[in-house]
């Protein structure tokens, strides 16, 4: 148990430190790399809790896809990040306030510090252990596709609408672009391209 505790504090400390580095790093690419480090250590925390499916999905979705595109955009865009960061101190009180509100809300919901809210699970902190022979992939699947199937579908719809929206907003038709039409190319016959003409001597074509 001691080793587990030590590993937990190691992961948690790295998450917090890299989270701070994300907003304080001078170079935006370094920020994204620290964000990736934070994702990794959060995945480590999930593994410690026995939620290996969530840990792997976190890495595949966030590190493997979202952060790659993030890095891509940060490297490509010529945004003046120093200028963006100038208002950092100005926004600090508002951000801090939001953070404190969220913290208090979490305390209320989780029932810490002796405060309890009606209807909130009394000990949400202690995760319910699934039956020993059920992997958490199966447990999640059984729950998502039965009890929460409508919410699950609704989440899918929201993502679909967001995706179509993003495509519609950024799509522009550029006139005069020459595109490759493979069926045209393959369907081209000798008669379409070659014409034989009999040319009499002494006369031009």
């Amino acid at each position: 148990m001691i080793v587990q505790g030590l590993v937990f504090y190691l992961f948690a400390a790295i998450v917090v430190v890299s989270g701070v580095m994300v907003i304080s790093a001078r170079n935006p690419v370094h920020s994204v790399l620290f964000l990736i480090l934070a994702f990794f250590n959060s995945a480590g925390l999930f593994v410690l809790m026995g939620a290996e499916f969530l840990a792997m999905i976190l890495i595949i979705v966030y590190v493997g896809a979202v952060a790659v595109l993030f890095l891509f955009v940060v490297m490509m865009l010529d945004v003046n990040f120093v200028q963006l960061r100038e208002g950092f101190l100005q926004y600090l009180p508002v951000g801090g306030l939001i953070g404190i509100i969220l913290f208090v809300e979490l305390l209320l919901v989780l029932g810490g510090a002796g405060v309890t809210v009606e209807g909130a699970p009394a000990n949400a902190l202690a995760a319910p252990m699934p039956a020993a022979n059920v992997t958490n992939t199966e447990a999640l699947g059984a729950l998502l596709y039965t009890k929460y199937v409508y919410l699950f579908q609704a989440a899918g719809m929201v993502l679909l609408v967001a995706m179509i929206g993003a495509i519609v907003l950024t799509h522009r038709t550029r006139p005069g672009v020459r595109r490759q039409n493979i069926s045209d190319q393959v369907g081209r016959r000798r008669e379409d391209g070659v014409e034989l003409k009999k040319i009499q001597p002494g006369q031009g074509a």
Partner: protein, 335 residues
């Protein structure tokens, strides 16, 4: 203190020993993989290939390694030093940690985790970071182009790869790699899911930046892409990581479609041969196909690469997921 040793110390030592037992053969295998790659490539072009160092040139990879080891690591003046040195290390270590969940035989696996296939998928999708970080940190044009191409390419092919893995998982009912192999005792998935097998192999080519999808390093247009500014051991780590990744994905293809350690027929002369030998020979065969493709297929144009990934592989693999699920439900074959 004694309890601490029994609980943590000795298991840790045993795990370390197991890691060494897996990684040393993998590294030697990677070294010889470069040799076989060059030999196969040479044979297909009617050349001899490496034949000077040692018998049949077998010592060539070690000579290359020694040469790279003795060279100076040059760091460009404008490079972002930390990221520049981190990139090859990441490529190499990612290619190594994937082997932790590969079952070489029945029960012959370092870590038999429940979500083995997701772990492999995560590791292979992280491979892009070494390239994109190296390309960016070099602070030069061609490496940057290579990095951008690589990012777009790997994200594109990962989507269809995910769907192909889902098709296999539908037929297995478990995310554990050993269970996936055991599910193929009756028939290898390469036969009922043949189109998926071919598509997975092509996606593996794209995922490892091998020809005909080697656009990130395309030597005729980008010189060497993200590798230009790298020299000596940093370059060697990139190279080792690349070949280890090829072997890893060959191993994954073997597990998913070619029945892992299982013999083709469970009858007398075939099942005398132990499982790991079957696994390694299938892996070697797939590696041969990798080299074969490299020697015979010309490089794809970039828009063709994107077209293949998004407009052909993605709809086709999605269709096969629905088809497989439908067939499994209709005939009540769901595991």
């Amino acid at each position: 203190m004694v309890e601490f040793w029994i609980d943590y110390g000795f298991p840790l030592l045993i795990i370390l020993l197991k890691i060494i037992v897996i990684l040393v053969p993998v590294l030697i295998g990677v070294a010889f993989a470069t040799y076989f790659d060059r030999k196969i490539w040479a044979a297909m072009q009617m050349r001899r290939g490496p034949n000077v160092v040692g018998p049949f040139g077998l010592m060539q990879p070690f000579a290359d390694g020694l040469k790279l080891f003795m060279k100076e690591t040059i760091i460009p003046a404008g490079a972002n030093k930390g990221v520049f040195l981190l990139a090859p290390a990441i490529t190499f270590s990612l290619a190594m940690i994937g082997w932790a969940v590969i079952p070489f035989g029945d029960g012959l696996v370092l870590s038999d985790i429940n979500v083995g296939i997701l772990y492999m998928f995560a590791i292979s999708s992280l491979g892009v970071y070494g390239i994109i970080m190296g390309g960016w940190a070099s602070n030069s044009k061609y490496p940057f182009f290579g990095a951008l191409r690589s990012a777009a390419q790997m994200v594109s092919y990962e989507v269809s790869m995910g769907f192909i893995i889902v098709t296999v998982l539908l037929c297995v009912g478990s995310l554990n790699l050993s269970d996936i192999v055991r599910a193929q005792e009756k028939i290898w998935f390469a036969i009922p899911l043949f189109p998926m097998f071919v598509m997975f192999f092509i996606s593996a080519l794209a995922e490892t930046n091998r020809p005909p999808f080697d656009l990130p390093e395309a030597e005729s247009e980008l010189v060497a892409g993200y590798q230009i500014e790298y020299s000596s051991m940093a370059f060697a780590l990139f190279m080792l990581g690349e070949y280890a990744n090829i072997l890893l994905l060959s191993g994954l293809t073997t597990i998913l479609f070619l029945g892992g350690w299982l013999p083709p027929f469970d009858i007398a002369p075939f099942n005398w041969i132990p499982g790991p030998i079957w696994f390694l020979s299938k892996l070697a065969f797939l590696f041969f196909v990798f080299s074969w493709v490299k020697a015979t297929v010309p490089r794809y144009r970039y828009d063709q690469l994107m077209r293949l990934g998004w407009k052909i592989f993605l709809p086709l693999s999605l269709f096969w997921v629905v088809l497989t699920a439908g067939v499994l439900v209709a005939f009540d074959w769901v595991p």
